[in-house]
C-alpha cells in the first residue's frame, strides 16, 4: 500500500485547503531494521533545515523516491509535531524480504539463460506475490509459445542464510510433452476446397510425416493467426461476410489435440458501380483505368486496397499523386450500397497540397560519412515529394552494402505551414568487410592457401588519424582489398587494390589502382633446390564512368596496365628456347558496356553488352635494332598484340518464371605487322566449365563450353597456347524454382556451340562444336552462385577422342562468357 498520512492522531491538524510553509526540525525513521536510516533520509530528498510546504509536492516526491527503490513494502510519512513553523517528520516503513538469488530447476542450462531474460527477476528487489506470479506467467507463456501447452511451473521461497532479509527463489519447471495436432476438421466449407484452407493455416498443421519443415505444434497465438488467415482467404475470394462461428480444441489421447472449425461462408459478392469523389487533378476515367477493377469482378477488399495504396508489381492510384508532391493524398473506398450480391463503391479522395522537399536528414550512420550517403540519395531539396524516389533511394542505400536493408526507415516530416516536407532516413550500420581464409586444391600446384581481406568502406583520408583505426579507418566508401595466395615456395601471389568510387566527389567516376606480384618456382623435390623461377609484377590504373549517352545504362572503363615478367631458367610452352630474361607487357584497355538486366541473380528481362579493346604499343612499327629485328632472345621482350572482345547476353521472359537467355561471344587477337607471328600471350582456350586456371604468364582467356572436357578446344597447331579467334553461342532456357533472395534456385537447359581458330583467315563462325544439356544453379549470399551442368558434346575433337560426349561440369560464381 502506497500513501502518506499527515494527521497522526488528533494532535496535528493539517489544513489541506491552505498549504503552509514549514521548516523541517527533525526526521525520524521507524520500521527499518535492515536499511540504513540516514541513507533512506538522503534518498527521500528531505533534509533537516529545509523549508517545505505541507501539504505539497516535496512529501509525495519523497514517498515516490523511496518506493521506487523497490526495497520497502510500505511507506508512510507523518507529521509527529509542529512547533510554530517547525515541523517534525516521521518516515514509517515496513520491510519485506528481498530477492538474493534464484534457480531454475528441470530445464537444461541453455534454456535457463533464455528464461532469465524473460522473467525479469532483479536481485535486491522485494519479493511480493505479484513478482512471483509474473515470473510464473512469463515462463508459462514462453513455453506455450514453443508448443508446450501443458507446462507446469511451481515457485518456492527459501530464506537466504548468507544475506540478512534475503530470499532465494526456486523455480521448478515441468515442461511436459509438446502438444501436437492429430486432426483438423472443418464444418460448413462448401464453396472453397478444404485443402486450400489447410494450406492457409501456416503454423497450425496436422501431424503428418510430410510436414518436415513445419512440424505439427499447437500454439495458441499461431492458431489465432491462422484463423485470421482463413477468413482473409475467404474475403479475397469475394466472401465478404465469411466468419468462423465456432471452433474448439479438444484432447485426442493426452498427447495430441483435435481442432474443429465451423465456418459460415455467406454469399459471394461482386463489384457493381465504382464512383470517385474529391478528385480534381485526374478524371474518373483515368483513375478507373489505373485501378483496373471492373464491374462484375469478384469483390476483394485486399486487392482493392493494394491497387489504391501500394502495388509492388504495377501501378496504383496513390502513386499517381504521391510521385507528384501530393504527400497528404488519401483515398477511402466506402461501400455505399450492398444489394443482393453486388456492391457499389464510392472512392472518397482527398488530394491536398503539393509538398516540396526542404531538408534531408540522415540518422544512424555511426561509421559511414555523410557525403558517401548524400551523394546516393535520390531525394534532394527543392524537388517535389515523390514516393517512387523514396523507394529508389531505399534501394540505393541498401545497394551500398553498409546498412542493414531490413532496417532502413524513411520518415517524411511535413511542415504544414510552408508546404514543405523534410525527409528523414534512419539507417543502421552493419559490417561490410569480408575476410576470406581458405585452402583448396589448385590444379597443378597442389594445396593452395588463400587469405583475402576486403574492406568495402575504407577511408584513405583518415589514414593518418590513429584514433580512426578500428581496425582500419572507415567511412568514406572506398574499397581496399588484399589477397595472398601461396603454396609454400612453389607458388605465391600477392595482390592489392584500391578503389575510390567517386573520384573528385563530383561524379561517380570510379578510380582503381591495383598492384600484383606472383612468383612461381620450379623445385626439384629430391634435392629441394630451385631450378628456375618466374616473377610477374604488375600495376593497373583504371577509371570507370557511367555514361549519359546513348542512355544511362552505359558505362565506360579505361585502364592502363603494366606487367613485367622475369624469367630465370623457366621452361614453359610456346616460347621456344626463351627461358631467361625479362618481358614487358604494357596495355591500354577500353571497355564500353551496357547493362540493363533487372536482377543480378535471376534476370528476366534486359540485356548485357560489352565491347572491350586492349592495345599494346605497336613496337614492330618503331623499327630500329631494339624493336625492328628481334632475335630469338628479344622476341618476347616487348609483348605486342591487339585484342578485341565482344560479349552479348539477352533475357526474354516467356512465362512468369520461365526465361530465355541468348548469348553470343567473340574474341580476336591481332598483330600490327603482317610479317610477324602472333605471340603466345592472351590467347583463347575453350571447353568445359570455364573455371580452370591456366598459366598466368600467358594471361590465357579460358572460356567454358559445356559438353566438352576442360580446355580441350584449341587449334591443334598452337601447341597448347590457344587460339587467336573464338566464337561461342548459347541458348538457355531457365526456370526459377525459388526466387527467394536468401536462396535463389533455378534449373536450365541449354544448346551451346563454339569454336577456336589458330588464325583470323580460318575463322568461320558457322563451323562450330555443338552441345546440349541441362543444369541447375543455387545462389546464396554467403556462397555466391554454385552450379552443376550435364552436357553432351556432339562433335569430335581431333586428337582428343574422349573430350566430347557426356560431361559433368561444376561452376562457382557467375560467368560472363
Amino acid at each position: 500500500q502506497l500513501g502518506f498520512q499527515l494527521n497522526s492522531g488528533s494532535s496535528q491538524d493539517i489544513d489541506y485547503g491552505n498549504p503552509k510553509e514549514y521548516k523541517i526540525a527533525d526526521i525520524n525513521v521507524v520500521g527499518s531494521q535492515f536499511n540504513d536510516k540516514n541513507s533512506l533520509i538522503s534518498i527521500s530528498g528531505l533534509k533537516v533545515g529545509d523549508k517545505i510546504r505541507i501539504p505539497g509536492d516535496d512529501i509525495s516526491m519523497a514517498v515516490r523516491k523511496l518506493w521506487k527503490l523497490g526495497i520497502v513494502g510500505d511507506v508512510k510519512i507523518t507529521v509527529t509535531k509542529t512547533e510554530g513553523n517547525e515541523v517534525y517528520l516521521q518516515i514509517e516503513l515496513t520491510e519485506r524480504p528481498r530477492l538474493s538469488r534464484y534457480f531454475f530447476n528441470g530445464v537444461p542450462k541453455g534454456q535457463r539463460e533464455t528464461l532469465s531474460e524473460k522473467v525479469n527477476l532483479i536481485r535486491g528487489r522485494i519479493v511480493t506475490d505479484a513478482l512471483v506470479k509474473n515470473a510464473r506467467n512469463a515462463i508459462i507463456n514462453h513455453y506455450s509459445s514453443k508448443g508446450f501447452k501443458n507446462c507446469q511451473v511451481e515457485i518456492t521461497q527459501e530464506k537466504d542464510s548468507l544475506l540478512a532479509n534475503g530470499v532465494i527463489l526456486h523455480v521448478n519447471i515441468d515442461k511436459k510433452k509438446k502438444v501436437k495436432i492429430h486432426e483438423i476438421q472443418f464444418e460448413g466449407v462448401t464453396q472453397v476446397k478444404e485443402k486450400k484452407l489447410r494450406k492457409k493455416m501456416k503454423k497450425t498443421k496436422e501431424k503428418h510425416f510430410t510436414h518436415l519443415f513445419t512440424p505439427s505444434k499447437f500454439i495458441d497465438e499461431e492458431y489465432r493467426n491462422d484463423k485470421k488467415n482463413i477468413i482473409e482467404y475467404y474475403r479475397s475470394m469475394g466472401f465478404r461476410n465469411a466468419t468462423i462461428v465456432a471452433d474448439s480444441v479438444y484432447d485426442h489421447n493426452g498427447k495430441m489435440v483435435n481442432v474443429k472449425i465451423k465456418v459460415d461462408e455467406g454469399k459471394k459478392f461482386y463489384y457493381r458501380n465504382i464512383t470517385w469523389t474529391g478528385n480534381y487533378k485526374f478524371n474518373d476515367e483515368m483513375l478507373s483505368r489505373v485501378l483496373g477493377v471492373n464491374r462484375g469482378d469478384v469483390y476483394n477488399p485486399q486487392e482493392l486496397s493494394k491497387r489504391l495504396n501500394f502495388n509492388p508489381s504495377g501501378a496504383d492510384v496513390s502513386s499517381l499523386y504521391m510521385d507528384d508532391g501530393y504527400l497528404f493524398f488519401n483515398v477511402q473506398p466506402i461501400e455505399v450500397l450492398v444489394e443482393d450480391d453486388s456492391i457499389d463503391i464510392e472512392m472518397r479522395m482527398y488530394e491536398g497540397e503539393q509538398a516540396t522537399i526542404n531538408k534531408i536528414i540522415v540518422n544512424g550512420n555511426t561509421k559511414t560519412s555523410d557525403h558517401v550517403i548524400y551523394r546516393e540519395l535520390r531525394t534532394i531539396p527543392g524537388q517535389k515529394f515523390s514516393r517512387t524516389n523514396l523507394i529508389r533511394t531505399q534501394r540505393e542505400l541498401a545497394a551500398l552494402g553498409y546498412f542493414d536493408p531490413e532496417t532502413i526507415e524513411i520518415n517524411p516530416v511535413p511542415n504544414f505551414a510552408d508546404g514543405t516536407v523534410d525527409i528523414e532516413y534512419n539507417v543502421t550500420e552493419r559490417p561490410s568487410d569480408q575476410i576470406e581464409l581458405s585452402g583448396g586444391w589448385g590444379g597443378q600446384f597442389g594445396f593452395v592457401g588463400t587469405l583475402g581481406l576486403v574492406f568495402n568502406n575504407f577511408s584513405l583520408r583518415k589514414i593518418t588519424d590513429l584514433k580512426a583505426w578500428r581496425p582500419l579507418p572507415a567511412g568514406d566508401g572506398q574499397r581496399l582489398s588484399l589477397r595472398l595466395q601461396a603454396n609454400g615456395r612453389r607458388f605465391q601471389t600477392y595482390s592489392f587494390s584500391f578503389t575510390e568510387p567517386w573520384l573528385g566527389g563530383k561524379r561517380p567516376n570510379a578510380f582503381t589502382v591495383s598492384l600484383s606480384r606472383s612468383i612461381q618456382r620450379l623445385i626439384d623435390y629430391r634435392t629441394n633446390r630451385t631450378n628456375g623461377s618466374l616473377k610477374v609484377t604488375g600495376i593497373t590504373l583504371g577509371l570507370g564512368r557511367r555514361l549519359k549517352w546513348p542512355d544511362d545504362f552505359f558505362t565506360m572503363n579505361n585502364s592502363v596496365s603494366f606487367l613485367m615478367y622475369n624469367l630465370d631458367n623457366f621452361r614453359t610452352t610456346g616460347f621456344g628456347g626463351y627461358d631467361n630474361g625479362r618481358s614487358y607487357n604494357i596495355t591500354f584497355n577500353t571497355t564500353i558496356a551496357r547493362n540493363s538486366i533487372d536482377s543480378p541473380t535471376f534476370p528476366r528481362r534486359g540485356s548485357q553488352l560489352s565491347l572491350s579493346v586492349s592495345l599494346t604499343p605497336p613496337y614492330s612499327k618503331f623499327g630500329g635494332k631494339e624493336f625492328g629485328e628481334p632475335t630469338e632472345e628479344t622476341k618476347f621482350k616487348w609483348v605486342e598484340y591487339h585484342k578485341w572482345m565482344f560479349d552479348n547476353s539477352w533475357f526474354l521472359p516467356i512465362l512468369d518464371k520461365l526465361v530465355l537467355n541468348a548469348r553470343m561471344h567473340y574474341g580476336f587477337i591481332g598483330k600490327y605487322t603482317p610479317s610477324r607471328e602472333i605471340g603466345p600471350f592472351e590467347r583463347f582456350i575453350l571447353g568445359g566449365d570455364g573455371l580452370s586456371q591456366n598459366s598466368f604468364l600467358l594471361g590465357t582467356e579460358i572460356v567454358g563450353l559445356r559438353g566438352y572436357e576442360n580446355n580441350s578446344i584449341l587449334p591443334f597447331e598452337s601447341n597448347g597456347t590457344g587460339g587467336v579467334a573464338y566464337g561461342k553461342y548459347v541458348l538457355e532456357l531457365r526456370y526459377g524454382v525459388s526466387l527467394n533472395p536468401a536462396a535463389t534456385i533455378f534449373v536450365l537447359s541449354f544448346l551451346e556451340a563454339g569454336n577456336n581458330w589458330g588464325s583470323i583467315d580460318e575463322f568461320n563462325p558457322f563451323v562450330v562444336k555443338r552441345s546440349a544439356g541441362v543444369g541447375a544453379r543455387v545462389f546464396m549470399p554467403a556462397f555466391g552462385m554454385l552450379g552443376v551442368d550435364w552436357g553432351y558434346g556432339f562433335d569430335n575433337i581431333p586428337g582428343n577422342p574422349s573430350a566430347n560426349g557426356a560431361q559433368f561440369h561444376f561452376t562457382i560464381g557467375q560467368q560472363i562468357r
Partner: protein
C-alpha cells in the same frame, strides 16, 4: 581460481565492497565495475549505496563507455539529488554525452541530447564551478552541428544540384543565425543561385537572376567589407547583364 573470482564469490558484502574500492583506486575499472554491479542490488538502502553508484558511473566513464556512464550519472542524480556529488554527477552526465558524440559527418543524434543535458545542468546549477566549461562544451557541440549543415549544403553545390544547394544554404542561415560560417554561406548561396539562374530554361531565368540580386544586396548590407565582396559583385553584375539580355530579347519580340 583467480583472486578476482574468489572475491566475486565472497558472500561478505563488506569485503567485496572494500575490494571493489581497491580495484577502483588501482585504476582497474573493468573489475571494479563488475564488483560494483554485483554489489548495487544488495546495498540499496544502505549508507554505502550512494558511493557505489557514483563510482560505478565513473568506472564506465573511465572505460570510455560514455553512453552508459551518462545513464548512470543521471540515475545517480535522480536518486540522490541532495547528495554532495549531485552537481558533479549532472555535469558528468553532460560531459559523458559530449564525449560520446562522433565527428560532424556522422550521426549527430547524441549531439542534441548532449546540448539539452548540459543546458539543463547550467540552468540547475548556475553558480557551479563547471558552468564555464559547460558553456564551452555547448559551443563545441553547436559547432559540429553547424559544420554538418554547412558541409551538406556544400556537397549539393559540388554535385551541381544548385537548387538544392540554395535551399540548404538557406536552412543553414535560418538554423544558425550567429555562426561564424554565415558570411561564407551567404556568399556561397549567391554563387549557387547565380549558377542555377545561368543554367535555367529561358522561362525561369529572369526570376532566378532577380533572386541573385536580392541575395547580393542582403549580403553587402550585412558584410560591407567581406573578403568575398569582389566575387559577389561579379555575380551581381553578370546577373544584371543577364537580365538586360532578357529585356532586350523581350523588346525585339
Amino acid at each position: 581460481c583467480s583472486k578476482f573470482t574468489r572475491i566475486m564469490k565472497n558472500p561478505d558484502v563488506d569485503e567485496r565492497y572494500e575490494a571493489a574500492m581497491e580495484y577502483y583506486d588501482n585504476e582497474d575499472y573493468y573489475k571494479a565495475s563488475l564488483l560494483f554491479e554485483d554489489l548495487l542490488p544488495n546495498l540499496v538502502g544502505s549508507a554505502k549505496a550512494e558511493k557505489v553508484q557514483f563510482y560505478y558511473a565513473y568506472c564506465h566513464f573511465n572505460q570510455k563507455q560514455y553512453m552508459l556512464a551518462a545513464h548512470y550519472f543521471k540515475t545517480f542524480y535522480d536518486t540522490y539529488s541532495r547528495s554532495e556529488f549531485a552537481e558533479e554527477a549532472l555535469y558528468m552526465q553532460g560531459f559523458s554525452l559530449y564525449k560520446s558524440t562522433p565527428v560532424f559527418n556522422l550521426d549527430q543524434s547524441n549531439t542534441n541530447e548532449a546540448i539539452t543535458a548540459i543546458q539543463d545542468f547550467i540552468n540547475r546549477f548556475p553558480q557551479s564551478k563547471y558552468v564555464e566549461e559547460a558553456a564551452e562544451l555547448i559551443e563545441k557541440l553547436r559547432g559540429s552541428l553547424e559544420k554538418k549543415s554547412y558541409e551538406i549544403a556544400k556537397q549539393y553545390h559540388k554535385l551541381e544540384k544548385y537548387k538544392a544547394a540554395v535551399i540548404a544554404y538557406g536552412n543553414f542561415q535560418r538554423d544558425f543565425p550567429d555562426s561564424h560560417l554565415r558570411e561564407e554561406v551567404e556568399f556561397l548561396k549567391i554563387e549557387a543561385q547565380y549558377d542555377l539562374a545561368r543554367l535555367s530554361v529561358y522561362k525561369l531565368k529572369e526570376e532566378r537572376y532577380q533572386l541573385v540580386k536580392e541575395y547580393y544586396l542582403k549580403f553587402i548590407d550585412r558584410y560591407p567589407s567581406s573578403q568575398y565582396l569582389k566575387k559577389a559583385e561579379n555575380y551581381f553584375e553578370s546577373s544584371e547583364k543577364g537580365l538586360k539580355n532578357i529585356a532586350a530579347q523581350a523588346s525585339v519580340k
